[in-house]
């Protein structure tokens, strides 16, 4: 029998609040679904608010649901570096996606222009896959696949990048699936960790 404490497992459990509460899933699902719903209407500046809104949902959920139930930690310098790298990566990914869309709009009849939505889906899926790896949350890999299928499938259904309705429906379904899964994870989390009554 091995005595050695499984420090990797202890570390995983210590940081699991970053994904165990389903708030990341809810934020991603909400942003994708809301984006799809907005595409059905005339795309407007409201789209730019979706990112901060998703972050707001995540923050408020942590503040009022997660922290009162499982407490809070200050990450170790090693984990802090990991989280900082994650934030930088997500920022770069967002900038790359934006640049990709702008370039595909400028270059007519190119491969990127014809498949810009599928490429956007691939970039988003890659981002969620990296998030899954960094947060050690395997269900996020499934979301990455859902996102890619929703975007690529939507592009095929739409036939053209200007036919937003078919594409939007596919994105709404993808986002809705992720959002529903996140809500189920959150409900399980709330049941598993009731709010403790006392604090020292």
């Amino acid at each position: 029998m091995s005595y050695e404490l499984d420090m990797k497992e202890i570390e995983r459990q210590a940081y699991m609040s970053y994904s165990e509460d389903g708030l990341v899933d809810i934020a991603i699902g909400f942003v994708i679904m809301a984006w799809g719903l907005l595409l059905l209407k005339e795309p407007s500046g409201v789209i730019a608010l979706l990112g901060p809104l998703g972050m707001g949902i995540w923050y408020l959920g942590k503040r009022f649901i997660t922290i009162p139930r499982i407490g809070t930690i200050e990450p170790s310098p090693k984990m802090e570096r990991r989280l900082r790298n994650l934030a930088i990566f997500l920022l770069l990914l967002g900038l790359m996606a934006l640049a990709g869309i702008l370039i595909s709009r400028m270059v007519s009849s190119s491969f990127t222009a014809d498949h810009s939505l599928g490429i956007l889906g691939l970039v988003l899926a890659a981002g969620v896959a990296v998030l899954a790896y960094l947060l050690n949350a395997s269900r996020l890999y499934v979301y990455a696949v859902i996102l890619f299928v929703a975007f690529a499938g939507g592009e095929i259904l739409a036939g053209s990048v200007t036919n937003f309705d078919a594409f939007a429906s596919s994105v709404i379904i993808g986002g809705g699936l992720i959002l529903t899964s996140g809500i189920v994870v959150l409900l399980r989390f709330v049941r598993k960790y009731p709010r403790p009554e006392l604090e020292a």
């Binding site: 091995s2 005595y3 050695e4 404490l5 420090m7 202890i10 570390e11 459990q13 210590a14 922290i67 009162p68 139930r69 499982i70 407490g71 809070t72 930690i73 200050e74 990450p75 170790s76 310098p77 984990m79 802090e80 960790y193 403790p196 006392l198 604090e199 020292a200």
Partner: protein, 105 residues
């Protein structure tokens, strides 16, 4: 050389009683992978009761292995715990001693 090993086997290094207690070992293990953690976090992760955790927290603080900081957050008392250098050394030494005792690498 062989005599040294025999002597070590006959007189193993003493285990730190403060760390050896399973609940305290768990608390130290969690604190060793974070910078600091609050009382609720340790309650949820160790599965100890409020009273038990308070009592172990006091023993670890008395031994100088953890630092306890009490503050008021959102008009409610909030307790943050962190491992001291002495606590980290004791925890690492305990793990090493156990591995040596059981002959594991």
């Amino acid at each position: 050389m062989a005599t040294d090993e025999n002597q070590e086997a006959a007189n193993p290094p003493p285990l730190d009683r403060v760390v050896h207690e399973p609940a305290r070992l768990k608390i130290l293990a969690y604190l060793s992978v974070v910078e600091s953690a609050d009382f609720v976090f340790l309650l949820s992760r160790t599965g100890l009761t409020y009273g038990n955790l308070s009592s172990h927290m006091s023993k670890l603080e008395e031994a100088g292995y953890i630092e306890v900081e009490k503050e008021i957050k959102d008009k409610r008392p909030h307790t943050m715990l962190s491992l001291t250098d002495q606590g980290r050394t004791a925890f690492d030494a305990y793990r090493q001693n156990m591995l040596d005792l059981l002959g594991e690498d």
